[in-house]
């Protein structure tokens, strides 16, 4: 396993298209857009070789899919927010890294494959993030999916494989995690001016999570992931995985400088733009009892061992 971090900094940002398509419908959307714009400049000045993006709005089933088309191009429309407009895109993908990431994932026991097809439907979250953070394709990118069945072990190993691939290629990366905090949206159409976090409970949890991010406590958040999933996540997938991947990719500790650039409602969900930068300082070193994992060994065939 690689011990040196090739991560310059990490970004956590929301998937919904309002900051890209309609930032002026609401001051909150504008604040999110400004935060993206700030990070765009910081990425440009960072000296990064690659932007590596994990998107919760790209679900996969057959293992972990990694975008490898060198110049994917299409015009995307969101399933819910189609009335906000279309999202034409053309990205520059580091195919060499995509293949290296796939290989690194397989070396750690994961099933993985690259996708490089004309017209492949890149997801809303990836398009929003790359369009705002890297609008001129100055830095090549790579996008990895979120397997809908995977849980903690698999996701952590997927993150460690990203570290392996970056180390092997000697590339400096900015990593981007695309995910909401609380993800419960309003189930009716609302006036943008009336947007707010869906409930005080969701808002309170979001603010507690933001406190952890602000203090650089990424590994603590990773250990709290199951609680977060139970409290403020719609149960669409097996678990709340983005902070597992983020911690495993950036380093499983609390030695980060955190900065909350914006926290706003996006149709009721919690949208935050956050930067985490590796540092030498640590806050809240805690010990947890969930084992770390280096290699994924697959399902344990629990069903097959019981008497049915």
């Amino acid at each position: 396993m690689s011990t040196e971090s090739n991560i310059l900094f990490g970004i956590y940002c929301p998937p919904h298209p309002h900051p890209l398509l309609a930032p002026d419908l609401n001051q909150g959307y504008r604040n999110l857009r400004s935060a993206y714009d700030t990070l765009k400049t910081r990425i440009e000045e960072s000296g990064a070789d690659i932007i590596l993006l994990y998107s919760t709005t790209w679900p996969s089933i057959v293992g972990h899919q990694i975008q490898a088309h060198p110049e994917p191009e299409w015009t995307h429309v969101d399933d819910d927010f189609h009335f906000l407009g279309s999202m034409p895109y053309k990205f520059k993908i580091d195919s060499e890294f995509s293949n290296a990431y796939k290989e690194a994932a397989e070396n750690r026991g994961l099933h993985s494959r690259t996708v490089a097809y004309e017209g492949f439907p890149i997801d809303t979250g990836s398009i929003v993030a790359l369009s705002l953070l890297n609008p001129d394709n100055k830095i090549p990118a790579c996008i990895v999916s979120s397997n809908m069945y995977s849980n903690r072990s698999e996701t952590i190993v997927l993150g460690k494989a990203a570290r392996d691939a970056l180390a092997k290629q000697g590339k400096k990366a900015v990593i981007v995690v695309v995910a909401s905090l609380s993800n419960r949206m309003f189930t009716e159409h609302i006036e943008p001016s009336e947007d707010r976090i869906h409930s005080p409970k969701d808002d309170e949890w979001n603010r507690k999570i933001l406190e952890f991010f602000d203090n650089g406590r990424l590994e603590d958040l990773s250990q709290l992931s199951r609680d977060i999933h139970g409290q403020i996540r719609i149960q669409k997938v097996a678990a709340y995985k983005p902070v597992w991947w983020m911690a495993a990719t950036m380093g499983q500790h609390n030695n980060y400088n955190g900065e909350i650039l914006a926290y706003e409602a996006l149709h009721g969900s919690g949208g935050a733009v956050i930067q985490l930068t590796p540092s030498d300082e640590s806050i809240g070193d805690k010990e947890f009892d969930e084992d770390d994992v280096e290699y994924y060994r697959g399902d344990r065939n629990v069903l097959g061992q019981g008497a049915l």
Binding site: S60, D80, F120, P121, T187, K236
Partner: protein
Amino acid sequence: MEKGRIVLGCLAPHPPHLVYAENPEQNEPFSEGGWETLRWGYNRLARKLKNIDYDVMVIFTPHWATYIGTHFLGLPSFNSLSVDPIFPNIFRYKYDLRVDVELAEAMEKSAADAGIITKMMRNPDFRIDYGTITSCHMLNPEWNKPIITISSNRNSHYYSGEVMNEQSSALGEACLKAIEESGKKVVLVSSNSLSHRHFVTESPLPEDMSREHIYNHSQYVWDMKIVGMMRDGKMREVIDIMPEYAEQTIAETEAGGLTWMMAAMGFPKYPAEIYGYQSVIGTGNAIVAWDPNSATREIVL
């Protein structure tokens, strides 16, 4: 004007593997076949449809998942390339389809009048989901009838399976009202599998049938229970146990399509026509039809 009516209801699963295995000219990848039990069942149901007089196919798809209400396609035509985000290696399909916007708007209005949150989808760049394309292609490969796609509002995720049943039933009743007022003859399509746990790996040759089987036995037992109840004409009971079934088998019925269709058809008490059951990458898939016309209703399998 004669009252409109539903002339057939179809449970039409949409694994893209079936289109891939058929090798139609619209789909780029080439296969050596596979999943014949389902494909031959679909072929037979498609032949039955050729002998049924209908104006439009209305399809409810889980792969247009919406969280803010139920959405309806609202432009007269769409043509583009559909690439499956999960199985892009086997499904890259060029489609060119027509939409019955008049009936879509009537169903949307009827649903809104019933208190259901709705939205017409009028963005010309919108890409049609592969669930719609697979089910419609297998039922009508000529694409010579207009369609209407209805999105799947994910009440199961936001609330519960019971709420999904309530809201999908209300949507089905609202759609029936619009259909009756339209004077049109309509085929309803619920595009979904039964049990829906996938294998997370794929064989090098996807159509290698030596590798295909149901994910686990409990999924199979549940699926057979449901198919048996369909055969016995117990659709009210099937819908009643749907929340538990979906929880136990991750059934794709959780999207609401089957509930929507059964509510629109008045929860049939007559036997369903069973056209086939087979697993696709571990999921359980049944092709089933409900024919309200007792003169043409068959015992297929």
